[in-house]
């Protein structure tokens, strides 16, 4: 069983590398990079929600913190490798502290949702209010509602003059998402990952078996925060400006919608959702007859009412029916919510 999964993984990686070289011929690479960044963000929520059962309404907070801390460090340091790492660590640390407050207080799902939402709003308000020159971290002025432009974008480590941009940036993003996917793939198969999956299925049972649920959830939350920070740092480098809108409610909503549409419980689902909806938004953004919110809202309602498992599990069921799968045992392992990702990402 493990072996089969590895075979899937290797085929998946090879396929996605092929896709990586084909895609730029079909869609503009500038858009593609953004889709990949969104996919990483979706992956971060899909991971903690689908595997640990933590529905965070404020994933945008970590995304924004990642982007902001990248920009702040980049302005102060002037070279991108250290800021890039710090941009992952800062939101991870923030998530660790926030997670510890929430999970060690044993707050229920609803309060988790409310608190993460409120924290996102605090950050949004705060970031919007930092227009004056007194709000500066080192050399970096936070800039209030206008945001922070003019920071060092990604460069080849050690060479501040050689920027990674255009096609190279696209390839970098693609390689990063493949690495994230493989990392999470193995993480879900490690003992830590299995315990997290079990917590997502039945928290009380795991508590009674003797694991410290609070610790596992906090660490899982921090990993999700770090991943979101990674995508934030990439976004900052892509957009070349960070604004308080990164913290907005709309951003948080979008991440959740990606996960719902793609399907939580697998790693490929959120990526599928982010790519599909990202493309949809891209095409809808070019017309002005129908408002974007309206479309996204309808999609969300329809999926909650009729397709609560999302597209990826539904598609994989269809796939399973069409190509009669040999090992039926795996089906038994798949519970209602949590599915093992047995196919590669559709990128």
């Amino acid at each position: 069983m493990q072996k089969i999964n590895h075979r899937h993984l290797i085929i998946g990686v090879m396929l996605s590398v092929t896709v990586m070289f084909i895609l730029p011929n079909l869609i503009e690479h500038y858009t593609l990079s953004l889709l990949i960044i969104y996919s990483i963000l979706a992956l971060s929520l899909g991971f903690i929600w689908g595997f640990g059962g933590i529905l965070c309404f404020g994933q945008a907070a970590f995304f924004g913190i990642g982007a902001y801390s990248y920009a702040v460090y980049a302005i102060n340091i002037g070279e991108s490798s250290i800021p890039f790492i710090l941009a992952i660590l800062t939101p991870a640390l923030f998530a660790l502290i926030l997670g510890a407050v929430i999970f060690y207080g044993r707050l229920s799902d609803v309060y988790l949702g409310v608190i993460t939402l409120v924290v996102t709003l605090i950050l949004f308000r705060f970031a919007s209010a930092t227009a004056g020159p007194e709000y500066a971290i080192g050399k970096a002025r936070l800039g209030g509602f206008n945001g922070m432009p003019n920071f060092q974008t990604l460069n080849i480590p050690g060479m501040p003059d050689r920027y990674i941009w255009d096609m190279d940036f696209y390839y970098l993003c693609f390689i990063i998402i493949i690495m994230c996917f493989i990392g999470l793939f193995f993480l879900t198969r490690s003992s830590f990952g299995r315990i997290c999956i079990a917590i997502g299925q039945n928290e009380q049972r795991i508590e009674l078996i003797g694991y410290d649920v609070r610790k596992y959830k906090t660490i899982l939350f921090a990993i999700g925060g770090g991943l979101a920070g990674l995508s934030g740092a990439l976004y900052a480098s892509w957009a070349e400006i960070v604004t308080p809108n990164l913290f907005s409610l709309g951003q948080s909503a979008e991440i959740i919608i990606w996960c719902i549409v793609g399907g939580v419980g697998s790693l490929s689902g959120p990526i599928l959702g982010a790519v599909l909806l990202g493309l949809l938004k891209y095409y809808f953004g070019q017309q002005s007859y129908i408002d974007n919110n309206l479309v996204l809202g309808f999609i969300l309602i329809i999926f909650v009412l009729f397709l609560p498992n999302g597209l990826a599990p539904t598609l994989s069921q269809l796939w399973g029916k069409v190509f009669k799968r040999k090992n039926r045992q795996r089906k038994n392992l798949n519970s209602k919510r949590v599915r093992m990702p047995n196919k590669k990402a559709v990128s």
Binding site: V110, G113, A129, D291, N292, L294, V304
Partner: protein
């Protein structure tokens, strides 16, 4: 002295406006346990209804106290019948579905009214205390808040209707066995909640420039007011509104309005950590 009076009025106003904006949510979330993320958009609809009614020549008080709640209440019932009634008892799914509803409502409002600010003028003149100017409309909001709270208390505590509603919220099966249709009661309660949100939107409409995404500014505030308040709807709403209103205004005076809001939200996070089940579950236990 003048400054003190002004500050007291401002604090009372902050408390009252928190009560006004949270009361609709208190009914929908506090009684029905439906996490209504579309609450802010119900308010936005109330605001637009008021503005449209006033601009078509209807008296401003009639439009915001009667027309806005009615229209939003009816929209609320339609939404409840179509979507929310299928999701009772599934907390996370209702959260997501109402979030979808809120986006749809924002989208519709943007398509109808466009992304421009709409506004009407306040019907009450301001007056001066010493060197300071006070907005007369603040007193109107304080009076409305007092009316909402006392009417709500009276309805829930002393009338048969309130008793039936409370019974159905506590145990729908028992109330069904006693001959009251819980489905109908839920529908009526949702109507009341939505109507209160519409009222809040209508009342606040003259104070702000209305844009389709206006409601999102209030959703977090009203949520934490209700959640921190805890299970007792009215006592909870009053105590948390008092606390948060004072915190908000005091910090606004000391620093600036944005810090007032940040302080409010931070207090909420800390309070939720200390009293995860709300104020009324630990301090005013057993009250209504």
């Amino acid at each position: 002295m003048d400054l003190a009076a002004v500050i007291i009025v401002e604090i009372l106003y902050a408390i009252a406006s928190l009560v006004v904006i949270s009361s609709g949510l208190a009914v929908i979330f506090g009684m029905m346990k439906v996490i209504n993320f579309a609450h802010g958009e119900f308010m936005m609809l109330g605001g637009y209804t008021t503005i449209v009614a006033v601009k078509s020549g209807i008296n401003i008080y009639i439009s915001m106290l009667i027309i806005a709640p009615l229209v939003v209440g009816i929209i609320g019932v339609i939404i409840e019948r179509l979507i929310i009634r299928h999701l009772y008892g599934r907390l996370v799914d209702t959260m997501l579905a109402t979030w979808g509803i809120s986006m749809v409502l924002i989208g519709i409002a943007t398509m109808i009214f466009g992304n421009t600010t709409e506004g009407i003028t306040t019907p009450i003149q301001g007056w001066t205390i010493g060197d300071y100017q006070i907005n007369g409309y603040n007193f109107f909001i304080i009076i409305v808040a007092i009316t909402i709270v006392s009417l709500g208390y009276y309805l829930l505590k002393f009338t048969k209707l309130g008793l039936i509603a409370r019974g159905a919220m506590q145990n729908p099966d028992v109330s069904a066995a006693l001959g009251y249709n819980p489905d109908r009661i839920y529908m009526a309660t949702f109507f009341v909640g939505a109507a209160l949100s519409g009222l809040a939107g209508g009342i606040l409409a003259p104070l702000v420039g209305l844009v389709p995404s206006w409601g999102t500014a209030y959703i977090a505030k009203s949520f934490i007011a209700v959640v921190v308040g805890g299970p007792a709807i009215i006592a909870g709403l009053l105590s948390s509104a008092t606390l948060f209103g004072s915190v908000n205004q005091i910090f606004s005076f000391l620093f600036n309005p944005v810090f007032g809001e940040v302080a409010l939200l931070l207090t909420a996070v800390i309070l939720l950590r200390i009293l995860p089940k709300g104020i009324t579950n630990s301090i005013f236990k057993g009250k209504l």
